[in-house]
């Protein structure tokens, strides 16, 4: 019992509950099914990103290129499919974007693994490269008319809730994609040797190498996987907004990384769980999507978001610090 109480996940969940109660007491709309669905919906794209970021952070790296990869994949896919006036299924769009993302991710992996460059530098550089290439050679104008398969997918909902005043809230099919990604990643990190390897690299690279893990292969897997997820997230983003814009995902990377860190993944590597990440993400989404419900004037919204993130990350960081001190004391004593 004490073990559960002292986990990071528990702390984040506690913050979520307290925040929810505060918001709910100010505005009862917060607890309606419609609002819950809206919160889930705005978390789909960020959720897929966050899972990718989690794996990278666990392995001791950091990736800031995933939004650039996603923009690249979704915009190029939309443009190519429109060019051929493609009428088929949305699956092709996912396959195309996923494949492109995988390739871009593997480019990242090549720099990181073969040239042993710091991950932040590599992904900063490639992010700029990918989005520069996109804007210079593929196009800059946003596309409002999506290919047939994608517009059809945009209207696929698995759940519809109509509130008493006739407002419809619908949960989009792509939540299932997020759920699938979450389950696969959870199984991967928990039950496979590959998952153990990812934690091992993040914990101590040299030790992992001596223990017999193939670091190059694992790194190729990590960054390829993140690229693949980014490509898929890009298509989901485009279909949800019914509009393909080559830049409006850029700049989201910091809030996603903040969500993952809030969820207890340590930026130094070796620690982090899927559950924690989802909780951290949910906390960020609640913060981002409830200020109007709270009646915070728009002049104050940015300030409030900043304060909440500071408190959130501060609390988890403080806890981590304390627990590592305790660990130290235990091992000495």
């Amino acid at each position: 019992m004490k073990k559960i109480l002292s986990t990071n996940e528990f702390l984040v969940a506690l913050i979520i509950i307290v925040l929810s109660i505060i918001i709910g007491s100010k505005n009862s709309v917060f607890f309606t099914a419609g609002n819950l669905i809206d919160l889930l919906r705005s978390g789909i794209v960020m959720g897929i990103f966050a899972i990718g970021v989690l794996i990278v952070i666990v392995s001791g790296g950091i990736d800031v290129s995933f939004t650039a990869i996603a923009s690249f994949c979704m915009y190029t896919t939309t443009k190519v499919l429109n060019y051929y006036d493609f009428q088929g299924s949305v699956l092709i769009a996912f396959v195309l974007a996923g494949a492109m993302g995988l390739i871009l991710g593997l480019i990242n992996a090549t720099f990181i693994s073969f040239f042993k460059l710091p991950t932040l530098i590599v992904t900063l550089g490639t992010a700029s490269m990918y989005s520069g290439f996109l804007l210079a050679f593929v196009g800059v104008r946003e596309i409002s008319n999506l290919p047939a398969g994608m517009s059809k997918f945009a209207k696929m909902n698995i759940l519809k809730v109509t509130s008493e005043n006739g407002v419809v809230s619908s949960l989009h099919f792509s939540i299932l994609i997020l759920i699938a990604v979450v389950i696969i990643t959870w199984l991967l990190l928990r039950y496979t040797m590959l998952g153990r390897g990812i934690y091992a690299i993040g914990g101590d690279r040299v030790a992992a190498e001596r223990a017999g893990f193939n670091i190059t292969a694992i790194q190729f897997f990590i960054y390829g996987f993140v690229g693949l997820l980014s490509g898929i997230a890009g298509i989901v983003h485009t279909t949800l907004m019914r509009n393909s814009n080559p830049v409006n995902l850029l700049g989201m990377e910091l809030i996603v990384i903040a969500a993952v860190v809030l969820g207890g993944a340590r930026i130094t590597g070796g620690h982090g769980t899927v559950l924690g990440t989802l909780l951290g993400l949910f906390l960020v989404i609640i913060m981002n999507n409830s200020l109007i419900l709270l009646g915070v004037p728009s002049y104050w919204q940015r300030l409030v978001i900043g304060i909440l993130i500071l408190i959130g990350t501060g609390a988890t960081a403080y806890r981590t610090m304390r627990s590592s001190r305790q660990l130290h004391r235990n091992s000495v004593g």
Partner: protein
């Protein structure tokens, strides 16, 4: 060897970092033109300055470089270059960010352009760098920024208060002159957006006392997704909301998508500035009622035209005619010219506009 190779890669990456942000294709273009231009300039600058054939180098800096609105403006700038033979080009930041805009103008000053025409994202942030440009003898013309101090002239497609108020007239009519409404601005520092909304709110308070403002100036950061999410939230927080007035280009379509998905088409009315290519499908489905805009291509053309007139030392006064529809009889107030160039589009006449 490996060390050398990795060093090379690092250098390459750093280069892409330095070169790529803020400048897409047009920056490269401007670089090559700058080189050819500077040799040309050396010849002419020592010679006869008043020569009528002198070709000027004029840069147009939009808020952000890759949205339909400023793409359309670029068409006007290119048309101007073709018509007049001046070296006119457009270069803007990749995302709407005041700091990036300052950086681009700094670069342009270093490139020794003759004139800069600019659509500021944040007027306050640009004052120092525009002062620097003017100190170096560069002519500065702005658009959508009637409060800027360090400019030669500002040119507005219309009087902002009149434009903002006309949206309220339409919104009031759609709402039956009663009920709750909300307004969006791209950013609280976007001067024109705030002027439109202020004028609209003022008109509502004077003329439509039964209407009630429940959420003033929500920021959309010029992003359709943000407008969409905030609209959903607004409709939950204020279930009786009946009208939304948008300002940035993505506000009206973002709000309209939210309304369409929530099944409120026809119950909540949306008006705002946008373009047919972006908001057209929502006009068609009825979730967006009316969009207004001015043709950014003509505005870009007009800014460049005015810049050349200033450079050539022509007389600039009230009633100026730039020879562009809507900009034929400009009203001068302090340093600001006002045209009469707005267009309203509804479902009925949306097919007349292809941008």
């Amino acid at each position: 060897m490996k060390k050398l190779l990795s060093l090379f890669i690092v250098v390459c990456l750093v280069m892409t970092l330095v070169i790529l942000p803020g400048c897409g294709k047009s920056a490269d273009e401007s670089k090559t033109t700058q080189e050819s231009k500077s040799t040309q300039e050396n010849k002419t600058s020592k010679g006869d300055k008043s020569a009528k054939t002198k070709k000027y180098k004029i840069a147009t800096v939009p808020k952000v470089s890759n949205i339909a609105w400023f793409d359309r403006m670029e068409e006007g700038v290119k048309e101007f270059a073709k018509d007049t033979g001046h070296d006119a080009f457009q270069v803007g930041p990749q995302k709407a960010d005041a700091a990036l805009q300052v950086q681009i103008i700094e670069d342009l000053i270093a490139q020794k352009v003759d004139a800069i025409t600019v659509v500021p994202f944040s007027t306050e942030a640009l004052e120092p760098v525009l002062k620097k440009a003017r100190d170096k003898g560069i002519v500065v013309i702005s658009h959508e920024a009637s409060s800027l101090q360090n400019i030669d002239y500002d040119i507005e497609a219309f009087d902002n208060a009149a434009y903002g108020a006309h949206f309220m007239e339409h919104l009031a009519k759609l709402m039956g002159e009663e009920g709750e409404y909300a307004t969006f601005v791209g950013s609280l520092t976007s001067k024109t957006h705030n002027e439109w909304v202020d004028a609209a709110i003022k008109l509502q308070k004077e003329k439509y006392p039964k209407m009630k403002l429940v959420a003033e100036k929500q920021e959309s950061y010029d992003d359709q997704k943000t407008a969409y999410e905030k609209t959903r939230e607004l409709l939950k927080a204020h279930p009786n909301l009946k009208g939304i007035q948008g300002s940035a280009m993505g506000d009206a379509p973002g709000a309209a998508l939210a309304i369409e998905e929530m099944g409120l088409t026809g119950k909540v009315h949306v008006v705002g500035t946008s373009l047919v290519s972006v908001a057209g499908k929502y006009l068609e489905s009825g979730s967006c009622d009316l969009i207004g805009f001015w043709d950014p291509a003509k505005a870009g053309y007009a800014m460049n035209q005015l810049a050349v007139m200033v450079l050539e030392g022509k007389e600039i006064k009230d009633g100026l005619n730039l020879g562009i529809p809507g900009y034929e009889n400009l009203k001068l107030k302090d340093k600001v010219f006002y045209g009469q160039a707005w267009v309203d589009v509804t479902k009925e006449n949306m097919n007349e506009y292809d941008f």
